[in-house]
């Protein structure tokens, strides 16, 4: 069984960020579950904060510059993606959406994705289900059933499973992503022009 790549996209804006904290926990859980299945997983984390200017530039110019080019390649190589956004104004953050907007529209088709979000209160937890999940359904990603929301209060007493559902939920989500990743062959980097039909087919089509 070969190694797999888990790519984490964290849209937290502050440093340190609770969004990054949740993203790291989700990644740890996924790696642990994959290890139980005899698979070594490598985690690469993209902090969108560091790419913010390039993301906006790409929305204006159409091409990825500097570190964004490498970041998009990283996402393209992911066997599993963990995407975590803070909730702003009842939905994912604008930076998170802008990053999704610059991804190739077919990049995430059939790819296992685990969703997470953070916010000040539990009141926003359904943003995962009415905002992030439809977005990734549109992208035709294979989103695992458990999505993890962490409100500020959830970070209290996170060590005790009996009083705080967050660690359980993180484990369950990590297990689901690990199962999806383990089920698939490692993603081979696709050649840029592999899908181009022959001209005879184009003419006949």
């Amino acid at each position: 069984m070969s190694d797999r790549s888990i790519v984490v996209v964290s849209a937290g804006l502050s440093q340190p960020s609770s969004t990054r904290l949740l993203a790291d926990r989700l990644a740890d859980a996924t790696v642990a579950e994959l290890a139980q299945r005899g698979i070594t997983a490598h985690v690469e984390t993209l902090e969108l904060r560091d790419l913010a200017h390039e993301v906006v530039n790409m929305t204006l110019t159409g091409f990825a510059s500097g570190p964004l080019r490498a970041a998009l390649d990283t996402v393209a190589r992911a066997d599993g993606l963990i995407a975590v956004s803070p909730v702003f104004s009842a939905s994912y953050s604008g930076l998170f959406k802008s990053f999704v907007d610059v991804l190739d529209k077919d990049l995430l088709v059939g790819r296992p994705v685990l969703l997470g979000a953070t916010g000040g209160t539990a009141r926003h937890s359904l943003a995962l289900e009415y905002a992030l999940r439809p977005l990734f359904a549109y992208l035709r990603a294979d989103v695992v059933p458990t999505a993890v929301y962490a409100a500020t209060d959830d970070w209290a007493d996170a060590g005790s499973d009996r009083v705080n559902p967050l660690p359980d939920r993180i484990r369950r989500a990590g297990r689901q992503l690990a199962e999806e990743v383990a089920d698939r062959e490692p993603s081979a980097p696709a050649g840029l022009y592999d899908a181009v039909p022959s001209f005879e087919d184009l003419l006949g089509g």
């Binding site: 110019t61 159409g62 091409f63 181009v196 184009l202 003419l203």
Partner: protein, 391 residues
Amino acid sequence: MQFGIFSVGDVTTDPITGRTPDDTERVRNMLTIAEHADAAGLDVFATGEHHNPPFVPSSPTTMLGYLAGRTKNILLSTATTLITTNDPVRLAEEYAMLQVISDGRMDLMLGRGNTGPVYPWFGQDIRQGIPLAIENYALLRRLWTEDVVDWSGKFRTPLQGFTSTPRPLDGVAPFVWHASIRSPEIAEQAAYYGDGFLHNAIFWPMEHTAQMVNFYRQRFEHHGHGQADQAIVGLGGQVFVRKDSQKAWDEFRPYFDVAPVYGHGPSMEEFTRETPLTVGSPQQVIDRYGKFFEQVGHYQRQMFLVDHAGLPLKTVLEQIDLLAEEIVPVLRREAEAVRPAHVPSDPPSHAQRVAAARAAGQSPTASPAAADRWTGRTAEDDVEAADAVAR
């Protein structure tokens, strides 16, 4: 190697003076720019085709026909002619007419266009962009190479016994380029026919351009038109030049910062690093453009965008002079010095294409018999018959 300029014909407010030319002034400026490029000794002038403000050039063959009469040496081309929303029958007729009028001093470049609403304005569906480009060009070629065409397809009315006139000059169709930035299907199309491929690299990093060009080259060889390094390649680029590099930066920056195509995004420093935009002295342009062949192979045509972003006419004409006097001769000399002998220096000229057709045993007739295919009568017969009746 050919060097030229291409215009998208944008009407843009000059951010320094706050002045905006009207459409008439912009069209006349484009004509002045083309005539100036001819007099300065550049090889190619190409105009875009647009059907929406702020762009003025909607009728390329009208403009190029006028320029054919006014200029001496410069090759007249397009950047690009819309193969998706123009009727291929009209394209066959209009560009054959231009070919005859310019005595073969033209070629054209096909593209799909980049403005979504143009498709419905001309009765087409943008989701069919690639299939339209494929079918329309296949018909366009037949109309140029076959005297009488029976045809039916998906996107236009069928043709029965149709002859496009005038027939191409010397029986040989104009040379065609296919332009695409992102669609490998179009690179494949160019390769399939052995036509030229132009990558308008102006907003793209050279690694991307190199990938597309190399794909076209491999497919050109696959389809049997020659070796990959003999494929006919053009690149778009853009420069702003002054003899003093700092002056170039200071003068161009306010135009760059608010230009519709550049402004409010990456800084000029970032943009010049990532794309072929080069702002500086003639030597800096030479250093940069003289190295592109290392990534895309030896290529045959380099086009520069110089008349955009609201730059005043006087400045544009000065840019053309700097290109023609200080940059192009050096770039051409350097390109020739390293070009392998089996790689063509230029895209094929009309004379070369005629010679090649003759050598291949094709002896196209100058014109088809001008007879009515249904009655077998010619116009002269009708005149004689009318005379007979009158007598």
